[in-house]
């Protein structure tokens, strides 16, 4: 093994000499404690710069650097689901067993339990063709997820010589021998910074259903899409990401806590095992992988955590699953880049961030997509990144650059959050470019879905203008039809947009209930507008006794209670009928 010698230690950045044979991005072990690091710069004269993923306190110039000859990689195979890892794929439950409640550095352990036996079912026979993308076996990893063992992209085409029969196997056992004597088992490595190959990228036409009405109806994200949630502290980034991790209709969730609070990861660990996935009926934890590199953990590992996460996501995508990945927060990741760049004495661009920030952001979000996999399946990775702009100011570099690489922007609004209107997603500053592409899907649920959501959106946008005038002259000075707009907008906000994550019923809104609510509100809007036009008084509409029930339908009518829905619809409609007949 090649070895070098440390010449300088500056926080997580270490310089070493005698590193002629070390490659760019090669993993090295640094010092007597074998701290894990990565070569990030090589220079003439055998000098190398290393970023170290663990605390370097006590490290000395003169100590040894051990080269490993491989790039920073994740281990892929059965057993990833339900696990919590740090940024470099060390399982935190194992680390806790080994070093107690505080993470001791230099701790090394297998990412996956190599002693666990998995039931392997072969899907090829001797003599079959063996090339990248071929599925050579299956394992039921959890009750709802079947793991496919796929020939890795690097495999030279050959044929199967032997394969083990169906049965229980563990660890590094060889499952398949190829004619050229290459072997395959359960596990593969993949370098985290390199996207896994696919056959083709496809158009995005299916929504990633989130159960959050403001998203699904107004600013939808497609499966394979990329979205950003920017917002100042306390505006609801984490809660939104957690709600998506719980209720979105992805098959697999990869949740990355990147430079954020430890307790938020603990909360997920405590809550998810107890929540039931509405579609599979299984515990939510069974479809979830957590990556926790919290704010107090080493900053260099924070930088790598999002690559670790997205590589795991691509692994399951390649089996034909729909994976959603949440990164909370990409700003902390960008700050890790900035800190490391500063230590490297690189020339800074905006606000101290390195000039390559946009390239790095692009290469992360580019890994989202709906694809045809190497095995010919359809799979997707949807990426949802939280952004934490300093001072809540969206003109800062990370928000600005990010918005170039995503197509769905959920802007969190401080005023809404202050009024405890959650989710505080602004209907004024947010947008989704996926709307047109996925409207077809919703059209199959309700042919007028698009017309309904457009009508309500129109009312909301009109209200913004009217509020400005109302602030100057008072709302009572406005004509009735404009005051109706204010009233209806208020109803849309309270009855539809606002959604309480802590309410048993309201926390998840099914597509069926959403289309019904949209229809009811749109009909109500249209008919009231007509009535006012025909001379009805605003007070008559305001006095409809079923209004409070309309305002409470989100939390009082369960997702599948068709009778209650029909009932309420009936009440509203006869109240409007009554006003109408009084006009004549």
């Amino acid at each position: 093994m090649n070895e070098g010698i440390i010449t300088r230690v500056n926080g997580p950045i270490v310089e070493a000499r005698n590193m002629e044979r070390a490659g760019m991005l090669e993993v090295v072990e640094v010092g007597t404690e074998h701290l894990i690091g990565e070569v990030i710069r090589v220079r003439r004269g055998g000098l190398a710069t290393i970023q170290v993923y663990e605390n370097t306190s006590g490290l000395k110039p003169g100590e040894t650097v051990y080269c490993t000859g491989r790039q920073l990689s994740v281990k892929l195979g059965p057993g990833l689901l339900g696990t919590i890892y740090d940024g470099i794929q060390r399982p935190l439950d194992r680390i806790a067993e080994l070093s107690g409640a505080m993470i001791r550095r230099g701790e090394k352990t297998e990412p996956l339990d190599m002693s666990k036996k998995w039931h392997f079912v072969p899907t090829v026979n001797p003599g079959d063709e063996l090339k990248p993308g071929v599925v050579y076996g299956e394992i039921q990893e959890t009750d709802s997820i079947k793991l496919k063992l796929i020939v890795p992209p690097s495999q030279k085409p050959t044929r199967v010589k032997t394969i083990v029969p169906e049965g229980d196997y563990a660890g590094e056992e060889t499952l398949l021998v190829a004619e050229n004597n290459d072997t395959l088992g359960f596990y593969q490595y993949w370098p985290v910074r390199k996207p896994r190959p696919v056959i083709a990228r496809k158009q995005l036409t299916t929504p990633l259903l989130t159960g959050l009405r403001v998203i699904d109806a107004f600013f939808p994200i497609a499966k394979g899409g990329a979205a950003a949630i920017p917002g100042g502290f306390g505006t609801g980034k984490t809660m939104t990401q957690q709600a998506l991790a719980k209720w979105s209709d992805a098959d697999i969730i990869v949740y990355i806590g990147c430079g954020e609070r430890g307790n938020e990861m603990t909360e997920v660990l405590r809550e998810f095992p107890e929540l039931v996935d509405p579609r599979s009926g299984r515990s939510l934890m069974e479809r979830t992988i957590l990556i926790a590199n919290t704010s107090n953990m080493p900053v260099a590992a924070r930088e790598v955590s999002i690559y670790t996460g997205i590589t795991l996501a691509e692994y399951y995508r390649d089996m034909g699953y729909h994976v959603a990945i949440m990164a909370d927060s990409t700003s902390r990741w960008a700050e890790a880049l900035r800190e490391l760049s500063g230590r490297l004495e690189e020339m800074p661009a905006d606000e101290g961030f390195p000039a390559y920030l946009p390239t790095r952001l692009a290469s992360f979000y580019e890994r989202a997509g709906f694809v045809e996999t190497m095995s010919g399946d359809s799979g997707s990775v949807s990426v949802i990144g939280a952004v934490s702009p300093p001072g809540g100011d969206f003109s800062e570099p990370v928000t600005q650059h990010t918005s170039r690489f995503i197509r769905c922007f959920w802007a969190l609004d401080r005023a809404l959050a202050n009024a405890r209107h959650y989710p505080a997603i602004s209907w004024h500053d947010s947008y989704s470019e996926y709307l047109i592409e996925i409207a077809g899907w919703w059209g199959q649920q309700d042919a007028e879905w698009k017309a309904h959501r457009d009508l309500l959106m129109e009312v909301l946008q009109e209200e913004v203008g009217l509020q400005r005038i109302a602030k100057l002259i008072g709302p009572d000075a406005l004509p009735d039809h404009q005051r109706l707009t204010l009233l209806v907008a208020d109803i849309i906000k309270n009855a539809f947009l606002q959604q309480n994550s802590f309410d048993e019923i309201d926390m998840y809104c099914s597509p069926g209930k959403q289309t019904w609510m949209l229809r009811l509100l749109a009909t109500f809007t249209e008919r009231s507008q007509n009535l006012i036009r025909k001379g009805a008084m605003l007070a008559d509409i305001n006095a409809i006794t079923a209004l409070p029930r309309l305002l409470r339908m989100k939390s009082e009518i369960p997702n599948d209670d068709k009778t209650a829905m029909a009932n309420l619809e009936q009440q509203i409609s006869s109240a409007l009928d009554a006003i109408e007949s009084n006009l004549r």
């Binding site: 926080g11 306190s57 806790a96 001791r104 502290f233 990861m265 603990t266 107090n296 001072g391 602030k471």
Partner: protein
């Protein structure tokens, strides 16, 4: 192995709080250094950057009086450690954990690295135990739970110290009879502030249960960087080794951040916002995250850092980055203070993120989460109506809007405002909450449920009409 305590004579340059030492060998990153001044004073420092033959050392005691030739440096072979022991309660220390009360060093061999180690998120226990502070604006609207980190965002001249002292005095759990031990860290504040806390602890008879780490305004600024870490190191020992419940009060984080900026500038680092280093977030997190509970452990650390917002600006990097790390914030408002309201807890920007799991059924009262949400929603409307009234005049407001104005005033006077020595039980606080909600028409109260309205709104209205 190096000769322990090898001494080097002379430094090559001195810049602000930093000294640069050449011709050294076998020195570790982060190692502690003892610097002896030409007059024989001994100061501690720490290695910030090291090569095979040179080191950059940050001197906690400041560099005043150091000279190139006559300064001596001795490298101590490990990072800064402080003693930890239960006997440190009732004592006063400097920022580096050395006795400041004239008494001897605590008798213990247990010394801990002040930087601590990151807690494994897998090993944390999610904090859920409601702490009753007796202050309605906190208990009702921004609940504190045991193991939370909840800072006070204040401004110069606002009563943050009185409020912190009141919380320290009144904080209790409803279910258990356990006292909080207090670890108090002061950085860059005047002696009066420290004195105020000492007096307050003394009066409530808890001084024996308080450990103080003081690095006051006239102490060297670099020492401020260690002070909170020393305090948290003791707190961790008390909480996680001994299973005690510790409340850590740290004041003033703004002075800490300034000291950090000073070091960064002296090192010629590229600043991010307002001259603060780009790693301010991570640096603050390395302290704020030292709060919480551990799975299977009995103890807890509840952190209450105080910071003064430069020009009352909440978007300034210090409060901004703090808010991004802590589990909420109690914001004090100058306008309310001027109107004589104590404690002047701002209604809207204050937040407790752990409140949701610490209140409600079986913890405080069933209706608590929704009452709080309703009060927030209504109060935010008050703010809008007040600005409308200032344009069109109060008389022009609709009848409902007028009720909102009345509600706003009552909310501030009855819910928020209370005595500095008034300890309100949560049940009483909830009653007051409903009392002020009753000013508003029933149809405005959408955040509370029909049953709750029937129970708390209608009932009270009928009682009234019977009279």
């Amino acid at each position: 192995m190096k000769v322990a305590g090898l001494e080097y004579r002379g430094v090559s340059s001195i810049d602000g709080p930093l000294v640069f030492i050449d011709n050294i060998r076998d020195i570790a990153y982060d190692e502690l250094v003892e610097i002896t001044t030409p007059t024989g004073d001994v100061r501690l420092g720490q290695v910030l950057d090291v090569t095979a033959s040179a080191a950059v050392v940050q001197v906690f005691g400041g560099t005043v009086g150091l000279s190139q030739e006559k300064t001596k440096a001795r490298f101590l072979g490990s990072a800064l450690k402080i003693p930890v022991s239960k006997d440190m309660l009732g004592r006063v220390f400097d920022g580096l954990g050395r006795p400041k009360d004239g008494l001897p060093e605590p008798l213990t061999a247990d010394r801990r690295d002040v930087n601590g180690m990151p807690v494994n998120p897998y090993s944390r226990e999610y904090p859920r135990d409601f702490i009753q502070t007796g202050i309605s604006s906190i208990d009702l609207m921004n609940t504190l739970v045991r193991g939370q980190k909840l800072p006070i965002f204040s401004g110069n001249g606002l009563p943050h110290n009185r409020m912190a002292a009141q919380i320290a005095r009144q904080a209790k759990l409803l279910s258990e009879e356990v006292e909080f031990s207090i670890v108090f860290a002061a950085m860059g504040v005047k002696y009066d502030v420290a004195r105020f806390f000492i007096d307050s602890f003394e009066r409530s008879g808890v001084l024996h249960n308080v450990a103080m780490f003081l690095s006051l305004a006239d102490d060297p600024s670099a020492e401020r960087l260690v002070t909170p870490r020393s305090a948290l190191t003791l707190a961790e020992y008390l909480a996680f080794d001994l299973g005690m419940h510790v409340l850590v009060i740290i004041t003033d984080m703004s002075n800490y951040c300034e000291a950090l900026r000073e070091i960064a500038t002296a090192r010629g680092e590229i600043p991010s916002r307002k001259g603060y280093p780009g790693y301010l977030y991570s640096d603050l997190a390395s302290m704020y995250e030292r709060a919480g509970r551990l799975r299977g452990g009995a103890g807890s650390i509840t952190q209450m850092p105080i910071l003064t917002m430069p020009s009352d600006d909440i978007s300034h990097p210090i409060p901004d980055l703090t808010g991004y790390i802590t589990e909420g914030q109690i914001v004090l408002e100058r306008d309310m203070h001027q109107r004589g309201i104590y404690p002047p807890v701002a209604g809207l920007p204050s937040l407790s993120r752990l409140m949701k799991d610490g209140i409600g059924k079986g913890r405080t009262r069933d209706d608590h989460p929704r009452v709080a949400s309703q009060l927030f929603a209504a109060y935010s409307k008050v703010k809008d109506i007040r600005s409308l009234a200032s344009v069109i005049g109060e008389e022009e407001l609709s009848p409902v809007d007028k009720l909102y104005l009345k509600f706003g005033a009552e909310f501030e006077n009855k819910v928020v405002s209370q005595g500095e020595f008034e300890d309100r039980p949560i049940q009483r606080t909830l009653e007051i909450g409903w009392e002020v909600l009753k000013i508003l028409p029933r149809s405005e109260l959408l955040r509370v449920s029909e049953e709750e309205l029937a129970k708390y709104y209608d009932e009270a209205v009928t009682i009234k009409s019977k009279k």
